[in-house]
Symmetry: C2
Subunit: 247 residues, 2 copies
């Protein structure tokens, strides 16, 4: 029995203090991602259920995300300064800096959606339209969830899926905007209220964009190349040509 | 004469290759800032002059800014990986990464404003309102200019000015939005056109926000503390308490 334990210990890789710091930085980023996802989900649900109490809570809790953003940023800076990481370790940290920024902005959108939910007159909104908006919200929520998952598992395939899905979110968003425009024309008195809803729709669409950003950062982490401002076809080509990743 | 030259040489500080790289990174960032400022100025002028030809040119030139963003990002990564900078040198590079991101987004806004200028029916816009919008555009352009200047001179005072001025831009923006809303109510058929203008107004307001971000990054560069999500009063307190900066 003692020998088995010994063997097990020999096979185990003992993390150095530096490696532990890298792992804990990644864990903290995933923890922040979880909080942001939860805030965003609650914001979308509060809108759908017209739950002003929940919306108020979310609008008050944005400081948690802001605080975490600064903590993660500082932890990244300290790790770079004290450990002088190079190659893939450095890339890990620089990608966290970028993802951290996108996560904070998703948190901001959740807060703004909650604030708009509180400001607008929910009774005046057609139930059918609220369903379309909620549907768009759920799509973008799934997109953020998949992007974070792709980052956690360093999966280029999942990240590519997120990028491809964004076209669908953009189309749904355009359809929502057309509906909102026709509501305004039909009922000019409701314009103020409808403009609040267009702000929500735009916020939701932007969350989809942040999911794409996180997916792009994840691909950069794995293949070592910045693929922003690159078409999907070019990205696939990059991935195929990349020796460190088998597609 | 020879002795004078000798003395001059003795007083001169010869830059190491690393210091030269840092300086050229900063110069490249300022070069990008200049290009972004020029795109944004042209976008605002094209809107004001209803110059569709100029708007078309700007909407086509965004790739220049995107390309520079990636080049600067990569130069920062290489410098960190090869030189293992610490303390203020590392801060300089990390701040450039952030400013680079804000500049690219200002470039994006210039491109979107140019695209909206092309899509909307400029003849239907009241001349008076166009003047208000142009005025807002000029304010945000000045704000970006001051923020870049504050970064170039590492001036906390100028950076603080940019942060304070943003309240004025926000108020002007709200006033524009109220006007646009009343136009929509008066002429529901023009709603599509007016919504394009609200997008322009929002873009302008966001440029003001990026100016604030650049100002905040500049303060972080000088005092060594991240002051995002901090009130102006707290920032002033931080600056007063900071030993490396005399206020």
């Amino acid at each position: 029995m003692t020998e088995i334990i010994k063997d097990r210990n020999l096979n185990a890789h003992i993390l150095t203090a530096y490696e532990q710091e890298l792992v804990s930085l990644r864990d903290k980023t995933l923890e922040m991602a979880g909080i942001v996802e939860s805030h965003y989900t609650k914001a979308i649900d509060a809108l759908n259920m017209q739950d002003t109490k929940a919306a108020e809570e979310i609008s008050k809790n944005d400081y948690i995300v802001n605080k975490m953003e600064i903590e993660i940023d500082e932890a990244c800076h300290t790790l770079i300064a004290t450990q002088s990481p190079v190659a893939s370790d450095l890339r890990k940290i620089l990608v966290i800096l970028k993802i951290n920024n996108d996560l904070e902005r998703v948190g901001d959108e959740a807060e703004k959606i909650a604030r708009n939910t509180l400001e607008m007159d929910l009774n005046k909104i057609q139930k059918n339209f609220l369903n379309s908006l909620y549907h768009l919200g759920v799509e973008s929520k799934n997109s953020i969830n998949k992007a974070i998952d792709a980052y956690a598992r360093q999966s280029v395939d999942s990240a590519m899926d997120v990028i491809k899905t964004d076209k669908y979110i953009d189309d749904e968003f355009e359809s929502c905007m057309r509906q909102l425009m026709s509501f305004m024309m039909q009922d000019p008195k409701a314009i103020k209220n409808i403009l609040d809803i267009t702000n929500i729709a735009k916020g939701i669409e932007r969350v989809g964009d942040h999911a794409v950003n996180i997916a792009q950062h994840t691909i950069q982490l794995v293949i070592g190349k910045d693929i922003r401002h690159t078409s999907s076809e070019q990205v696939l080509e990059e991935i195929r040509n990349n020796t460190s990743y088998k597609y």
